[in-house]
C-alpha cells in the first residue's frame, strides 16, 4: 500500500474505531449495572430467583458470542417476522447481555470474598442495607475485582470486532474490507495498532485506579 492510500484510509478507520468505542461504552453501560443485579440473583437464597439466573449465565457463557449476535439480529425476524433491529443496536444489546453474565460472576466472586463480619459490623452500627452496600461492601468489592475486570474490559475491546458478522462497520470491518480491496496486509496491521492503543489505555486506566485504591489492604 502506498503512503497516500494509507492516509486516505485512516479517516475511515478512525470512524470505525468510534463505532467500536460506541459498542464498547454502551455495552458497559448495560452490563455493569445488570451484572450487579444478576450477581445478587445468583446469590439469592430462593431457588426461584437463583435457578433462572444460573440458566442465563450458562447459556450466555456457554454459547458463542458470534452465535448470539446472529440470534439477536435475525431471531426476531425468523421467529415473529419482525422488522430487523438496527445492526449497531443489535450488536450493543447482544454484547450487553453477554457481558452481563461475565460481570455477574466477577461481582459474585468479589461479594463472596467480603468477610461476613463486615456486614455484621454494619448491622450492629444501625446502617441500612443500602448504606451497608454502598458505603461498606461495594468499595471493598471494587478493589478486589479490578484485576479480573481489567481483563474483561480488554477482551470486550477486542470482541467488538465480532460485530462485523452482522455487518456493523466497526474498526475491524473497515480494515478487512480495505485489506481485500488493496490486496494488502497493511490495514490489518493498522487495525492491530488501533486495538493495542485502546487496550493500552484501558489497562493503564485500571492500573491508575488500582494505585488509587492501594491505600488500604
Amino acid at each position: 500500500m502506498t503512503y497516500e492510500a494509507i492516509r486516505s484510509l485512516l479517516p475511515a478507520m478512525v470512524e470505525g474505531m468510534l463505532t467500536s468505542l460506541q459498542v464498547f461504552f454502551l455495552t458497559l453501560l448495560i452490563s455493569l449495572p445488570l451484572g450487579i443485579v444478576l450477581a445478587a440473583g445468583r446469590m439469592s437464597k430462593h431457588g426461584l430467583i437463583r435457578w433462572p439466573v444460573q440458566l442465563y449465565l450458562l447459556v450466555m457463557r456457554g454459547t458463542p458470542l458470534m452465535l448470539q449476535l446472529f440470534f439477536f439480529y435475525f431471531g426476531p425476524y425468523y421467529l415473529f417476522g419482525a422488522k430487523p433491529m438496527d445492526r449497531l443496536w443489535a450488536a450493543i444489546l447482544t454484547f450487553g447481555l453477554n457481558y452481563t453474565a461475565y460481570f455477574a460472576e466477577i461481582f459474585r466472586g468479589g461479594l463472596e470474598s467480603i468477610p461476613k463480619g463486615q456486614y455484621e459490623a454494619a448491622i450492629i452500627l444501625g446502617m441500612t442495607r443500602w448504606q451497608t452496600f454502598t458505603r461498606i461492601i461495594f468499595p471493598q468489592v471494587l478493589k478486589r475485582i479490578l484485576p479480573p475486570m481489567g481483563s474483561e474490559f480488554m477482551t470486550l475491546v477486542k470482541d467488538t470486532a465480532l460485530a462485523r458478522v452482522i455487518a456493523v462497520a466497526e474498526l475491524f470491518d473497515i480494515a478487512a474490507k480495505a485489506a481485500n480491496s488493496f490486496v494488502s496486509v497493511t490495514p490489518y496491521i493498522l487495525a492491530a495498532v488501533f486495538y493495542l492503543v485502546m487496550n493500552f489505555l484501558v489497562g493503564h486506566g485500571f492500573l491508575l485506579v488500582e494505585r488509587k485504591l492501594s491505600y488500604y489492604k
Binding site: P115, G117, Q118, E120, A121, I123, I124, L125, G126, M127, Q131, R135, I136, P139, Q140, K143, Y215, Y216, K217
Partner: protein
Amino acid sequence: MVMLSAMHMYKAFGDTLVLRDISIEVREGEVLAVIGPSGSGKSTLLRCINQLETLDRGEITVCGERMVTDGRYSDPAALRRIRLKVGLVFQNFNLFPHFSVLQNVTEAPMKVLGKSREAAEATAKGLLKKMGVLEKAASYPFELSGGQQQRVSIVRALALNPEILFFDEPTSALDPELTGEVLKVIRSLAEEKMTMVIVTHEMAFARDVADRVVFMDGGVVVEEGPPSQVFGNPQQERTKQFLLRYTEG
C-alpha cells in the same frame, strides 16, 4: 433498673440445640461476665440479643422496650430503636479496612444518627484520646496492631452512645502481650459504670472486673453468682472441672 432481660431463650441450628431455656438479666451499671467452654452457646447468646441471630423461643426486653415476646419479634421500628441502644465489640474487630480510624468511628454517628461531621469528629477524637489511640486517627486499620484495632472498635461502638455494650471474646484474637491494653480500657469503662456483658476466656479478668459471673455449658446456665462465689467456691461439679482445666492452663 433492669437494662436487659432475656428469658427462656431457645435457639437451634438444624438439629443442634444451642440455647436451651437460658435466662439472663443485667442491671444498670452492672458488668456481667459470661464464661464457659467453646461451643457452650455463649457467642450465640450474645448474637441473639444483638439481632445477628433470631431466637426460636423466648422473651427479650432491652431498656424497657420489648424486642421479642414469646418468640415473636417486635416491629422493625422497635427493633431499630433497640439496635441503637446496644453496642457489640467483635472478637475479630471487624473494622472497615477502607476507612481511616477516624472514619470508622464517625461513619455511623453521621450516617445513622445524622450528626454533623464536626460533632461526630469531636466525639470520636475525645473517645480515641481516652482509649489512647488518638495519634492513629488518620491511619488505616491494617497499619494498627491487634490491640489498637480492638480499642478502635470499642471506640466505634461507644461513639453511638449505647446503653449496653456487649463484648464477644474481645481478646481471643490478640497476641497474649496485647490483651492487657484491651482489658485495661474495658476495666476503665467498668469503673465509669458502663453496663456491659462480656463473653471471655480471661478468667482473672472476669473475676476482677465482673459484678456477676455466668458459667454456661451445653446451652444452659450451670452456675451464676458473684465472682468470689463462682471462682472461689463453685457449687456445681461442671464449674469446678472447667475452672480446674483453666487454672491448669
